[in-house]
Symmetry: C2
Subunit: 357 residues, 2 copies
Amino acid sequence: MTRGIRRSSGPLDQRAQAVLRAVIDEYITSAVPVGSQLLVERYRLQVSSATVRAILAELEAEGLLSHPHTSAGRVPTDAGYRFYVESLMGEVPLSAIEQLTIRHQFGQVEFATDQWFRLAATTLASATHSAGIATPAKPRAAQIRRFELISIGDRMASLIIVLNEGTLKQTLFALAPGTSDADLEEAVRRLNASCAGRSAADVAEHLRWFDHAPPDDAIFTLVRRAGDRALRLLREFDAASVEQLFSDGLLNVMAAPEFASSEKLRRVFEALENRAYFAELFDTVTVDGGLRVYIGRENRPDEMADVSLVLAPYGRPGAAVGFVGVLGPTRLRYPQAIGTVRFVSGLMNDLVDHLYT
Amino acid sequence: MTRGIRRSSGPLDQRAQAVLRAVIDEYITSAVPVGSQLLVERYRLQVSSATVRAILAELEAEGLLSHPHTSAGRVPTDAGYRFYVESLMGEVPLSAIEQLTIRHQFGQVEFATDQWFRLAATTLASATHSAGIATPAKPRAAQIRRFELISIGDRMASLIIVLNEGTLKQTLFALAPGTSDADLEEAVRRLNASCAGRSAADVAEHLRWFDHAPPDDAIFTLVRRAGDRALRLLREFDAASVEQLFSDGLLNVMAAPEFASSEKLRRVFEALENRAYFAELFDTVTVDGGLRVYIGRENRPDEMADVSLVLAPYGRPGAAVGFVGVLGPTRLRYPQAIGTVRFVSGLMNDLVDHLYT
DNA sequence: ATCTGGCACTCGCGGTAGTCGAGTGCCAAC
DNA sequence: GTTGGCACTCGACTACCGCGAGTGCCAGAT
């Protein structure tokens, strides 16, 4: 996990760690390179600034801090943040009052499953003053409860698939001329008879049976075509989890001084628009299931080099999994961000759990 | 419509109009204040730069152009753009090849009604190199086709409302302990018996009848509670058209030089996040139904002072209406933007029409 | 051995001054 | 009414300079 940081000399002594922590705490709030003088004054270190300078030099040699230029203060490196997150900082849980507020907001949409993840993103954004991101919980293997076919006008129908947990999928469907409502009903009856209660993969198998139906039987044709369309829809559904990635509060990130130039900002936006990286992340996070932090260049796409990501899965590993997280400058308030993400992912967990018990 | 522009002297003569047009054409592509010299060289005006200067001064007096400072070139005012849009420019239709590409893309999602408006926004963004915005077509008065109640676990159910054109609404629903599937079926049967085929308002009326049911009858209670929830959902549905406003390609707007400062940009983002203004616009656009252009300060919220909006409704006036549009700097390529919006709104019209015939 | 005070050095930042040139407005002549 | 000429304006760019925060190093104190 520590990705080859700290290759030289012995472990940092207590004092060096305290200084590192002070530097990062300070930089996170001020966004200004921090110097030895200020550290001594503000953090009650019981040594002189000269000593602190020596320690800073040491930390820099370790690759935990860096220097914008000779006569400037120190700035944490990605490795520095990494060490901070893993060993130095204390996670700050959300305050009781904030927890209450958030619970209340979720109470408002308790029954609107499709709103949960949006609210999660919004909540995370406003609680951390960064961008919040979230995806809906996607069932691992969709199971079909039932089909419905509803006519619209003369030549169209709406094909509805009811999945487990009451999730719905819907698509339009062109009808052959002269198809009656009775035909539709009969087609649905057969479709349900052979597919209801099965998984998508199973359904694919069972529908193959209809392929050999006599081509002149209108109802069989209808069933087959509906089945084909349903399968296509289910395949899309499988692929489309990241597609629904919802983000909120990007404005908060824009406000950070490091993004004033608007060029870096654009790159971040591009990364967010191109979901590929997130798709990849989600895959890896699922594996061991905990909250994860990705700092600056640890994110492989260059566009993400200046931001950090705190990401946590929620849901039931075997059944349905989604993600919530926070995205902000590498100079993120990690203790709060992590505490908040942990809280919200827990909340989402409870909501999903409720669906399965 | 011309909003009190041009209060002084007579109408602009041909030559002045040609110059105005040249200035705006030039400024739209270069984003740099344009001077008399350049106009003469690049636009083959058959007069000297001194003459052009006189004309420019005249146009400025009319309020159509302005001067960043004494020794700079001219920049169009909002009024100037307005005149340009209404009298000067030629609308540029989308090229045949682009039309084909777009049609093809829409063909891909022909049956996924809920994707249409997103694709519209994306298409508009990439075709105009600005931001594209779109809302789904919202039925004026939702009509209920049918209810469904599906149990999830022991204590939850999913309540589904099928609306006209196959639109779906879904919500969770907590069950009283011991409710059997048979109870659910019976409740749905009664619900459908009294409500199917009615409008939301009608349904509200009919459900009142259940209020006087004996409180100890489990099924009646179930029906009443389901009905209440359905009504709440329908009310939300009525309010939630702008809520689904989808935008794409904001990156394109970010790239414009006038937004390099990132401060103006933030304000635009804020305006987009706060949907109030759009809600208002949509109301007024519906009334007379054509494509409309809103230039700079013509948009009342200050945040929108630096951007223009090209907006067009689509759908069937009596039945379902949505919006598509383009948002960019006031220095928008109006001829192309308007042509593109017109094309896409036409396309969306056809799609919706297909649903109703 | 380690810490400390002192000191020379570095270098970005902010302000001032000077130059350049695109563009203007005006005017006298055509 | 149009044109060439001309003085003028003013932002953009460059160069320069002084300030000061911050560093690294060293010799002496603890």
